[in-house]
């Protein structure tokens, strides 16, 4: 139960941050990505602020060694640069640039219940599950690298 409350609280704070930062507004995001047009660079500040606070919190978590709830900090372990990382990044950027929504802001916008945002989130879920399913099938067939497609995030 403490884990659920903590997770809910962190999700709530995360969502509030996304709303205040402007990341949930696709037009602001597209303005930030429109480097060759009327470029609005201020969204870079969001990233800078988020990364700065996160690194302070992460170094605290590293020094402490274990979380308040549970025994271990689940740090991502992968360090290899493989083709799926590069192709995935390119595919993700293409999708992000088309509408200006990435997963967090899309979910925060879900409460509006407009048809486009519902369509976006469902399509996003299909893209995620589709890849995971395909990945699992191909790895179990080859039974090499076990499904340690341990995510980075």
């Amino acid at each position: 139960m403490p884990l659920l409350l903590a997770s809910f609280g962190c999700g709530l704070v995360f969502g509030i941050g996304l709303l205040i930062s402007g990341m949930t507004d696709p037009l602001k995001v597209l303005g930030f990505l429109d480097v060759f047009g009327a470029w609005d660079a201020t969204l870079a500040v969001v990233m800078a602020g988020a990364v700065a606070v996160t690194s302070i919190g992460f170094s605290f978590a590293k020094n402490r060694g274990h979380p308040l709830i549970g025994e271990l900090n689940r740090w991502p372990t992968r360090a290899d640069i493989d083709p799926p990382l590069l192709i995935g990044g390119a595919v993700f950027g293409l999708g992000w640039g088309l509408v200006g929504l990435c997963p967090g802001p899309a979910l925060v916008n879900l409460v509006g219940f407009g048809q486009p945002i519902l369509a976006f989130v469902v399509a996003m879920g299909v893209g995620m599950s589709g890849y995971d399913f395909w990945q699992q099938r191909s790895t179990s067939r080859r039974s090499v690298e076990s499904a340690t497609a341990v995510t980075d995030g």
Binding site: F8, C10, G11, L12, F14, G15, I16, G17, I20, S21, M23, D25, P26, G37, G49, G57, F58, A61, P67, I69, N73, R74, R78, A79, L85, L86, I87, G89, A90, V91, F92, G93, L94, G95, W96, G97, L98, V99, L101, P103, G104, A106, L107, N109, G112, G114, P116, A119, F120, A123, M124, G125, V126, G127, M128, G130, Y131, D132, T151, G153
Partner: protein, 141 residues
């Protein structure tokens, strides 16, 4: 939340960072939205409940804002539904292929100075900028 200023962006960013830091300090987990969300959808997930709680918090945020007087977000999205679906699909697919998204790689990964995250973020920034350039200035121009 109508007037976005650099200050509100910085504050918003810091709050995002606070949430990511808290999830690690308190629960020992990375606040990567695509990973958390995909875990809910996967049939093999063994730790589904905290993921649902996190996403529920995320979805609740604008409702809390509405109670405090901010209007519910009405994202401006293209009327072309095929474009919207293609965008959502690519965002979902790419995030799973690369193991993260703007939050897991872009914020948490860069904060850890993870080479994978630095590269993933650089690649998606370049293709997103190129996509907007083509959509706005080549096709839409």
């Amino acid at each position: 939340m109508h007037n976005f200023t650099p200050l509100s962006r910085l504050v918003g960013g810091a709050i995002i960072g606070l949430a990511a830091a808290m999830l690690m300090v308190v629960a020992g987990r990375i606040a990567g939205i695509s990973g958390v969300f995909a875990g809910i959808l996967s049939p093999d997930t063994t730790d589904r409940s905290w993921r649902i709680a996190f996403i529920a918090g995320l979805v609740t945020a604008p409702l809390l804002g509405a109670m405090l007087g901010s209007p519910l977000p009405r994202p401006a999205m293209p009327t072309n539904l095929v474009l919207v679906i293609a965008s959502g699909f690519l965002v979902g697919l790419g995030s799973r292929m690369g193991g993260g998204c703007t939050s897991g790689h872009g914020v948490c990964g860069i904060a850890r100075l993870s080479p994978r995250s630095l590269i993933f973020t650089a690649v998606f920034m370049v293709t997103a900028i190129a996509t907007v350039a083509v959509m706005r200035h080549v096709i839409g121009g």
